[in-house]
Symmetry: C2
Subunit: 343 residues, 2 copies
DNA sequence: ATGAAAGCGCTAACAG
DNA sequence: CTGTTAGCGCTTTCAT
């Protein structure tokens, strides 16, 4: 059995080092203020006692918890989950480097027949000073979270553009989906293809429209026709399968660029059913570089989530610093993970 | 612009309700102590002011942060990541129901040529009273975290059995992998198969050995021979592909049960290469019900992570309650997600 | 059932 | 450069 005695406090360290409590506090927070020998003595006492500042007390005093809140969205489709996992890891790591931790919360259960509370969980956490700020990820169309948080003066940064509000005042970081899809389209074009199909989502999603725009832009830039080369369907394997079949039967594209890995998997199914083989002669590209893409050898657009996390935390630090915030919006370019379905 | 004034405090509420601060505190923490009419008046003041207790002050006073720490493991293979995502969500939800939040942290970067600090991140968090307890997930063989946390008297519960220490004193929850694989094997047997192969990992993993034992036990119970029907390989698609080919060439199994979805995908590759088709006539079963299994229609053993989370939080509540802890170890049975590769 | 007093451990001001 | 004083907002005795 070890020491069941309570953890050491500032006062304990001060006594042991023969200085005042304040000096110990300075040794920790403003070491420059101390004479080297005093600092060394205090440090020795700290080490000897195994002292760690009590967060609660510091938090109460400084009004800063060094915690950022992240609300877990209610488990979306495959691809998004996977991206979320990678993003959370990246965020935790980026936060750690500036001395922050990530506090996870959920919006709570959505009652049958009720709309989910858009602000679920946010308000209490902020008002109770449990977190200093939030990272908001669900900035889908018309999301009221950003508006409400702004109104309540809760500091936050968003992963995702404020599509609906070009003059939004909060910092944001987003991935340039259009650029990613354009790069994918050019990649397929470079393989010698001209009839490159776009398999996208049904209208209504800003993200989906953005990705489609990348394909369209690249096609136009290459002087290629887009007529009859696109389909807009639900984000399921089966919808992708059927849409690919329809396209093959009509305009017979020789390459596919898709809005998601899920749709791309559907395309692969159709190709297999017809005895066709995805590859440089018949490339298929997905989006999100999910687990599925990795296992199935699917070329896919990969979001730079690690960079996103770093930029978000940087913007957050900016926001919480006493100085005027500098960053406003940052758009990062995805990369292309090239695999067997296109090489 | 809204009120930039500071959040209301207990004193504000007390003044507005015409009672003492103490009474407000009681209204929140021990409502039974108040007369109904007083309680109502206080409640009104709370609502009117939009008061939320300051966590830092409460935390300092009660020495409880109502935060559980969870260390993110350094991103493992596909299947594990996916499971982690689902587990984290479940944990956040289970914690919420008992008034806890989940604080994520990482072990920090592992320096080149250095061993990762087994206690990385744990010690500071606990000593600084930033978290009340931990959920430990990486209880792989000989993991020193459990030992160290016990020595430091840090409350924690483990997801995973203490394989190496049958008398471990901490509460744990685990999934009965052997039972899951046995159920999978019986499922294949029920389809009419007798030569059921086991595609497992190389020795050295307790989890892997456990899963294999489930297959072996089920085979023996069904009076089936296991001779030449097993392979032990690395957990990659390619290793699974090759192993399946070897098995087909030698003992020609008519069904495959695998230690992971990754290996099962390898089997599917081999079958396809040979013009064979997974299904009731040639079943393939994976483990973990990953994204890949869901998209590819792979039957897979699914861990009850939501239950695991609930049990873990229950054990934690027990541990932190003033009463004597009751639970010690809980073993939960997985289910079988049956899909096209076996039906 | 309600109020008064004390203090959790820390840091921001100021004084020496 | 170091020490003193005060108080962050809350809960826990204890008294009324």
């Amino acid at each position: 059995m070890e020491n069941p005695r309570p953890p050491a406090t500032l006062a304990d360290v001060a006594e042991r080092a023969g200085v005042s409590r304040q000096t110990v506090s300075n040794a920790i927070n403003n070491p420059d203020l101390l004479r080297p020998d005093t600092l060394a003595r205090v440090q020795q006492a700290i080490d000897g006692l195994g002292y760690t500042p009590n967060q609660a007390a510091r938090h109460l005093r400084t009004r800063s918890s060094r915690l950022v809140g992240l609300r877990l969205t209610p488990a979306q489709e495959f691809t998004a989950n996977m991206a979320m996992d990678r993003f959370v890891r990246a965020l935790v790591e980026a936060a750690r480097e500036v001395g922050y931790h990530v506090l996870l919360f959920s919006g709570g259960p959505v009652e049958e027949g009720e709309l989910p509370d858009p602000l679920g969980g946010y308000d209490d956490l902020f008002r109770s000073t449990a977190v200093d700020a939030f990272v908001v990820t669900d900035t889908y169309l018309g999301n009221p979270v950003a508006v409400e948080l702004t109104r309540r003066r809760a500091p936050f940064v968003a992963f995702g553009r404020p599509w609906d509000d070009p003059v939004a005042s909060h910092p944001w970081v987003d991935v340039d989906g259009a650029a990613g899809v354009a790069a994918a389209t050019e990649h397929v074009r470079d393989l010698g293809h001209e009839r490159i199909a776009w398999l996208g989502w049904e209208p209504g999603s800003r993200i989906g429209e953005d990705r489609r725009a990348g394909w369209h832009r690249a096609m136009v830039a290459a002087g290629l026709s887009t007529a009859g080369l696109e389909a807009a369907v639900a984000d399921t394997v089966d919808a992708g399968r059927q849409a690919a079949a329809r396209l093959l039967d009509t305009t017979a594209p020789t390459g596919f660029v898709c809005a998601s890995d899920t749709l791309a998997v559907g395309v692969l199914h159709t190709l297999r059913e017809r005895g066709l083989h995805a590859g440089p002669g018949l490339p298929v590209v997905g989006f999100d570089d999910s687990q599925v893409a990795q296992v199935m050898g699917l070329t896919s657009v990969r979001q730079p989530l690690e960079e996103v996390a770093v930029e978000l935390i940087g913007a957050l630090a900016d926001l919480l610093a006493p100085t005027e915030p500098t960053t406003h919006g940052i758009l990062l370019a995805p990369t292309l993970a090239i695999r067997q379905t296109s090489v």
